[in-house]
């Protein structure tokens, strides 16, 4: 028996009570998925039956995949202080974790020491504060760095952090050639989505070249870069955009290293990847399969001699954005589905999110459940017994081919612009990702995309989930004390010599900046000092913003709603002589601007005049901007737990400067239990994760009445 298209269509029409054509799913603007696939769909596909471990590696970078050894369970975590994080890592390693993955706080990411005035609200938030090698030594105390691989999410302050890690190991008695692990070091995507850069694009790329050069000489087991799509997906990119831009970034890094005079085989095997895995199950599996094929073709253009250079090895993380504040236990199930997609896609290591990550850093309980999710997949489900079990599936092979083709088109577009650095300058990739995010938000707000517990099957009375609280003030004081202690004991002549050398090398564009940073770290120069030495020459970069307009309204076509809003705005304008005006601001060093961008875009679609504050502003600066622009409202987007200090400070500043009539509202990752404190401080509306923007537009208009 073989598949009979005609007969199936007849049967399907009866069962559907409509044409099967109507059941074709428009999964993405450029991608349709049919209700059924057959052998015909892969007849012309010459890559539908490939061998695992051989180019183009669709079925996996290794021949035996999980049948030989399962993926590495690698949970990303960092808790305010080096001591707490160290205790967490040790505990994780003792209970089944297989590697350490360090999350740094925002101040460290942006190259500021904890005593810097710009980071008062950021120290110890969203990760561990590291100011010097002494902090780094505490972080890895009792963890043998020659045996345990360490992954570090660091892109801005890569030089001082990597240098401190190398010196911390050295003082533990482990030489740098024995170090294994990964540093993210993927600056291109920071300019697109995450905004934790420090220097402008050109010197940032030089730094990457220096790191690749240094590690390929001195640290053969170390992955010098983790080319990341994860943050693009979190910022709203669909799987094809994520895939295409990530690989285009990878291509740009290869070219940078080759310009440095390195041979492709010297460094290509040390390039690793990092993808996000969302709820789009089939697409995510196909994405990883297509990624390996694309990468092996991209690397082949550079004529490698070793097959190893062509393999794409990746870490995956389940999507944090897909987690909800509402009915949070559902997040365990979401994470499980996403983890399975990552595993079926053939990931080399995996982080599963904790159920409370929509509102806070993981608690001990939630981290255990997250880790167990992977352990159960590895040890109970028997999923690991077969290599690439989706191989040969008519649907999966077709989908892999289609995603491959679509991503290839985008990669070509990037190459035609002269590579990713140039493409980023045009502002197009950022804008495309933001459009994709606004479209998605409109689909969710209009109920077209279902999120259980958020826009369907809502729970009336939700029970509270215990979450971890961080006393940011205490962390900052203890960091400041330790900084003072280090500075009192070090050799100042040596310090200033090291810093001068760094500055000089930056000026003359000579020498290897990582090598000089290692020397500086050894002399107890701090993260902030090392960063500043180069900043004197390179400058500190601020991204300019293009914001998409019109997309939200086009996608969410609830005409009654828009008509009502138009009326309200007209009424307001007639009475006040101008449209409602809102300043959308992010404060502190948190660079996640998806929320802010989507809000700006949707509110301007609704007819508001929207001001956008520069990234990384302080409360005082935002207050000044609000006053100068004479806005009616300041909308603060907060993703990184700084809300409890930064937002009340903003309100105080406004009051102090005679502008208490300017309303302050906020949204983002804010735990319910903080709402009262914020209302008391004077916040007028709080919009938690999952609030439809249509609802917030209405609430804001009510506030202005």
């Amino acid at each position: 028996m073989t598949f009979d298209q005609k007969k199936w269509q007849q049967l399907a029409e009866k069962e559907y009570k409509c044409s099967p054509e109507d059941k074709v799913w428009q999964a993405l603007p450029q991608l349709k998925i049919k209700p059924v696939y057959s052998k015909k769909d892969i007849d012309k596909n010459t890559n539908a039956d490939t061998t695992p471990g051989l180019a183009p590696f669709i079925r996996g970078p290794r021949a035996t995949m999980y049948t030989g050894r399962p993926w590495t369970i690698r949970q990303y975590a960092g808790f305010s202080t080096a001591e707490e994080s160290n205790a967490f890592y040790r505990n994780t390693l003792a209970s089944g974790g297989q590697g350490v993955s360090v999350a740094f706080d925002l101040a460290t990411h942006r190259g500021y020491d904890s005593d810097h005035e710009r980071v008062i609200g950021d120290v110890g938030k969203a990760g561990v504060a590291i100011d010097s090698v002494e902090d780094m030594k505490i972080l890895f105390d009792g963890i043998p760095l020659d045996k345990i691989s360490v992954s570090m999410t660091m892109n801005g302050a890569v030089l001082p952090i990597l240098a401190n890690y190398i010196v911390a190991a050295e003082e533990q008695g482990v030489s740098q050639d024995k170090l294994s692990g990964t540093i993210q070091n993927d600056i291109l995507k920071e300019f697109m989505v995450r905004n934790t850069y420090i220097y402008p694009p050109a010197p940032s790329m030089k730094i990457i070249g220096d790191i690749i050069e240094y590690t390929s000489k001195n640290m053969p087991k170390y992955n010098s870069i983790s080319i990341s799509g994860y943050h693009m997906q979190e910022a709203g990119a669909d799987p094809i955009l994520e895939l295409a831009y990530t690989l285009a970034d990878g291509k740009e890094y290869i070219e940078t290293a080759i310009k440095k005079g390195l041979e492709i085989d010297q460094f290509a095997p040390r390039l690793s990847f990092f993808f996000g895995i969302g709820m789009n199950f089939y697409l995510e599996i196909a994405k990883l399969r297509a990624a390996r094929r694309l990468w092996s073709e991209i690397v082949s253009e550079f004529n490698p001699k070793s097959e190893k250079s062509k393999t794409l090895r990746t870490h995956c993380q389940t999507s944090g954005w897909s987690l909800t504040e509402q009915d949070p236990h559902n997040n365990v199930i979401r994470t499980t589905v996403e983890a399975m997609a990552a595993v079926f896609g053939g990931t080399q290591s995996l982080h599963t999110n904790s159920l409370d990550e929509a509102v806070a850093l993981p608690s001990e309980f939630s981290s255990r459940i997250a880790r167990n999710t992977q352990l159960i997949l590895q040890e109970e489900s028997n999923i690991t017994k077969v290599v690439d079990p989706w191989g040969g599936s008519y649907m999966m092979e077709s989908l892999t081919e289609e995603i491959y083709q679509e991503a290839k088109k985008i990669i070509k577009e990037v190459s035609d612009e002269g590579g990713m650095s140039k493409y980023i300058e045009t502002g197009k990739p950022k804008l495309n990702i933001e459009k994709s995010a606004a479209r998605r938000q409109a689909d969710i707000d209009s109920g077209k995309e279902v999120i259980v517990g958020v826009n369907k099957y809502k729970v009336e009375n939700e029970e509270d989930v215990d979450i971890l609280e961080i006393d940011n003030h205490k962390v900052r004081i203890s960091q400041i004390n330790r900084l003072a202690e280090i500075k009192s004991r070090r050799d100042e002549n040596e310090v200033s010599k090291c810093l001068k050398d760094l500055e000089e090398a930056s000026r003359s564009n000579s020498g290897n900046l990582l090598e000089l940073s290692v020397k500086a770290a050894r002399a107890r120069c701090t993260v902030g000092e090392i960063t500043l030495a180069m900043e004197k020459i390179f400058g500190r970069y601020t991204a300019t913003h293009h914001t998409a307009t019109g997309v939200y309204k086009e996608t969410n076509m609830d005409e009654n709603f828009w008509a009502q809003i138009e009326n309200d705005i007209k009424f307001f304008e007639k009475k006040n002589g101008r449209r409602p005006r809102m300043l959308v601001a992010k404060m502190g060093q948190d660079g996640h601007d998806r929320g802010a961008k989507v809000i700006a875009s949707a509110f301007s679609d609704a007819g508001f005049d929207i001001d956008i504050a520069p990234m990384f502003s302080t409360p005082k600066e935002v207050s000044n901007q609000a006053i100068d622009n004479d806005v009616h409202i300041v909308g603060v987007s907060s993703q990184a737990a700084g809300h409890k200090t930064l937002i009340p400070d903003l309100i105080k500043e406004l009051q102090k400067n005679g502008a208490s009539e300017i309303h302050v509202i906020c949204g983002g990752v804010i735990p319910k239990k903080d709402y009262d404190q914020l209302y008391k401080a004077g916040v007028k509306c709080i919009f938690g994760p999952g609030t439809p923007i249509t609802h917030s537009i209405n609430e804001v208009l009510k506030l202005l009445k």
Binding site: T544, K553, D609, I610, S617
Partner: protein, 300 residues
């Protein structure tokens, strides 16, 4: 109340300057009346030392970033700077995104600077109705430099040039055919022409463009890039030179502008009076016109 406002504006109080800017932008009758009174009182307080510089160019030509770099140089000389950045409103939904502060982050956060983005509200295809009034407010409150930044599209260039002392047109490096067609209007209006974004791959093309334009235009033309600080200094020097050597031209411009401003005030006054006149339907437009004029004479 107006006198208090005038006093706090001349004292340089930010909140008052900001409120006054809102009043002159406002479309309500009440605010229009206040505007008339306010500006008549502020106008005599302006100093002649102030420098009003218009900056025009298409979206993406790098105006804001260039003003940021130029402004930083002026801040080093302890100058006080105001920027009025006019952003296009969306014709579809009427809202706008005012992102200028992200491109002028130093100026936006500096105590000697005042950056005010203004939605264009479709007037003159890009310039705000209240630009002149805003300039008056800034000059009465002691700023040394006022930048008026606009998206240049056709007619706008005329409107901006009528509000400033020195009009700078910001162009991009051109290629091939584009090199031939320098707009005639630019030559007439511009005091200085910049070929901006002259860095990286575009640097050579920018210099070619400068040389090509020099052949047909009798104006100072330079290549600029925010990544090459000396080009920003060149710009600053050109502007200083302009104000130092062309005092009489600036004087003439200013008198001319007051005339035009008065005329446009009169026209909008007449226009709104016209709207209030009810006429019986008439078959002949010329007869109707005569009737309107008759009525206008009685009303005014």
């Amino acid at each position: 109340m107006i006198d208090n406002l005038v006093k706090s504006i001349t004292d340089g109080d930010r909140r008052s300057i900001s409120k006054a800017l809102t009043i002159v932008e406002s479309t309500t009758d009440k605010d229009k009346k206040i505007t008339a009174e306010l500006i008549s009182k502020l106008f005599p307080l302006q100093t002649s030392d102030i420098r009003v510089i218009g900056f025009s160019g298409i979206t993406g030509s790098g105006k804001s970033s260039l003003i940021e770099e130029y402004g930083k140089l002026l801040l080093e000389e302890n100058k006080k700077i105001a920027v009025l950045a006019v952003d296009p409103s969306s014709p579809v939904h009427g809202g706008s995104i005012l992102g200028d502060k992200t491109r002028m982050s130093t100026l936006s956060n500096h105590q000697n600077c005042f950056v005010r983005p203004v939605p264009s509200k479709f007037n003159h295809g890009g310039i705000s109705r209240s630009t002149r009034e805003a300039v008056s407010i800034f000059s009465a409150s002691g700023f040394d430099y006022i930048f008026v930044e606009t998206v240049g599209v056709g007619q706008t260039e005329y409107s901006v040039s009528e509000t400033c002392d020195c009009f700078i047109v910001n162009l991009l490096p051109a290629t091939g055919d584009e090199l031939q067609g320098v707009k005639k209007g630019i030559n007439e209006l511009a005091d200085i022409i910049l070929i901006n974004k002259a860095d990286g791959a575009l640097e050579t093309q920018a210099n070619i463009t400068v040389n090509e334009y020099k052949k047909t235009l009798n104006k100072p033309i330079i290549a600029t890039s925010i990544y090459q600080k000396d080009t920003v200094k060149n710009l600053a020097n050109l502007v200083s030179e302009f104000f130092d050597t062309k005092r009489d031209i600036v004087q003439k411009k200013r008198l001319n502008q007051i005339n035009k401003w008065a005329k446009s005030l009169a026209i909008s006054h007449l226009a709104s009076t016209l709207d209030e006149i009810n006429l019986p339907t008439m078959a002949n437009p010329y007869h109707a016109k005569n009737e309107i004029i008759k009525k206008l004479k009685t009303v005014i």
